[in-house]
């Protein structure tokens, strides 16, 4: 026998199921009026400093279908790399947003500002990125990934450089389609499968 560790084990995840919207964005789900507004409606408030950007995309399953019931969350710092709650952070940047695939088209949209750079724990600078978390029916444990930008210097980013198969790094990089507009599709399977993170 050995001494007991007395640490606890993280509660097991379970799928958010088909009705995750009822709990997380009830107004979007049609419940209306239970809360004044859904949580995470806006990543930024008017007057947020930095470059305003819009990112759109689909979440695509292993059959190539852009499914309609995905729930996404994003978390990011302000244009100077400060997260909400940190000293000096832009008070107009919430940093957190919740958004869903459109029930008719499967398209989701995130309106925010381009995030600043944030260092790793050992002081290496990361390229600008937005953290993404995806929940849906059929996803048993929420999927973490990141959105980088194709008009930034990503060449020394520590996370991107850990991806052994270099072309796969492209799955994390949003493509600029017009000034301030980017496209970022998330593939759960297939040759273009997005890199998901255990971080």
């Amino acid at each position: 026998m050995v001494q007991p560790l007395n640490t606890l084990v993280e509660t097991a995840s379970q799928t958010g199921g088909p009705y995750v919207h009822i709990g997380c964005i009830p107004t979007f789900a049609g419940l209306g009026a239970v809360y004044p507004e859904d949580l995470g409606l806006r990543a930024i408030e008017p007057g947020a400093a930095g470059e305003a950007i819009t990112i759109t995309g689909e979440v695509i399953d292993g059959t190539g279908w852009a499914f309609r019931d995905a729930l996404l969350e994003s978390w990011q710092p302000d244009a100077n790399g400060k997260f909400a709650g940190q000293a000096g952070a832009d008070p107009q940047v919430n940093g957190f947003a919740r958004f869903a695939a459109d029930k008719d088209t499967g398209l989701w949209t995130l309106r925010t500002v381009k995030p600043g750079r944030v260092p790793t724990r050992d002081g290496r600078m990361q390229a600008p990125h937005i953290s993404i978390w995806i929940a849906a029916r059929g996803i048993n444990i929420g999927l973490h990934t990141r959105i980088y930008f194709d008009d930034e210097d990503n060449s020394t980013d520590p996370l991107l450089n850990r991806i052994e198969q270099r072309p796969r790094a492209q799955t994390l990089i949003a493509k600029r389609s017009a000034p301030g507009e980017y496209r970022f599709d998330i593939h759960l399977q297939g040759a273009a499968e997005t890199v998901f993170l255990d971080i």
Partner: protein
């Protein structure tokens, strides 16, 4: 700002398998290639915080928060309570807990739920609260009904409440489900069965808690939630309180 340390890596074997053919939707929605593992960065160690101004007085009372005239939802009255803590047993205070569930007949208030159990005009099915300074939370609700779902030919979900927890770090984000002690459908459910560790599945089953039940009013079920911890070591960061 005190460095609370990196997030403890997730023990994936303590979580459901992403791919499980018995849960058919997971077949096309589970990544096939390995996850990229890396030590957490501030992007995962920070996270959104929500204040008390967000929470309305009835937000954690699902019996009344949808009722137009105070009638209250139909069903067996239940107090659902517990603590949110981390892997080291530290309470996680002031964190947002959101729940959603079917009504007493097993029907969700959702356009895509076509089960013929009737909607309850006084039940919406969602609630939220912030944990207190000890990490405790409470909801007053009704026991959700079991319901059939399209998977294998005769699959039924056990009675369950869906739960979403934020913690203090985006990397702690967790959605799970609470089951009820004694429900024979738990061991037949392919979603519950995606958790391959029996002790971890048992930890999703809330025991009846008569100590918190209110005589002549409601039964209580206790459901504690454990989130990822932060590793503190004097060799890499400053220990809390040192």
């Amino acid at each position: 700002m005190t460095d609370l340390g990196p997030l403890v890596p997730r023990r994936r074997d303590m979580h459901p398998v992403p791919y499980d053919p018995e849960y058919k939707t997971s077949v096309t929605r589970s990544p096939r290639w390995p996850l990229l593992s890396m030590e957490s960065t501030p992007s995962e160690e920070t996270g959104p915080r929500f204040g008390h101004s967000l929470i309305g007085p009835l937000d954690n009372n699902l019996i009344l928060n949808w009722s137009k005239d105070g009638t209250g939802a139909i069903g067996e009255r239940i107090l659902m309570h517990g603590r949110v803590m981390d892997e080291f047993g530290r309470p996680v205070p002031n964190t947002l807990v959101e729940i959603w569930q079917a009504n007493a007949g097993g029907r969700y208030r959702h356009v895509r739920d076509t089960y013929f159990a009737p909607l309850d005009p006084n039940f919406g099915g969602c609630g939220r609260t912030l944990t207190d300074d000890q990490g405790r939370y409470q909801f007053l609700t009704i026991r959700p009904g079991a319901y059939p779902w399209p998977n294998r030919a005769n699959d039924w979900r056990p009675m369950h409440v869906h739960i979403s927890v934020f913690g203090h770090s985006f990397g702690q984000r967790l959605i799970t489900q609470m089951y009820f002690e004694g429900d024979p459908l738990i061991n037949l459910c392919p979603i519950a069965a995606t958790v391959k560790s029996r002790s971890q599945l048992d930890a999703l089953v809330a025991p009846l808690d008569l100590s918190m039940s209110r005589p002549l009013d409601y039964l209580a079920y206790k459901f504690d939630i454990v989130l990822r911890g932060r590793r503190q070591s004097m060799f890499e960061n400053k220990l809390e309180g040192m």
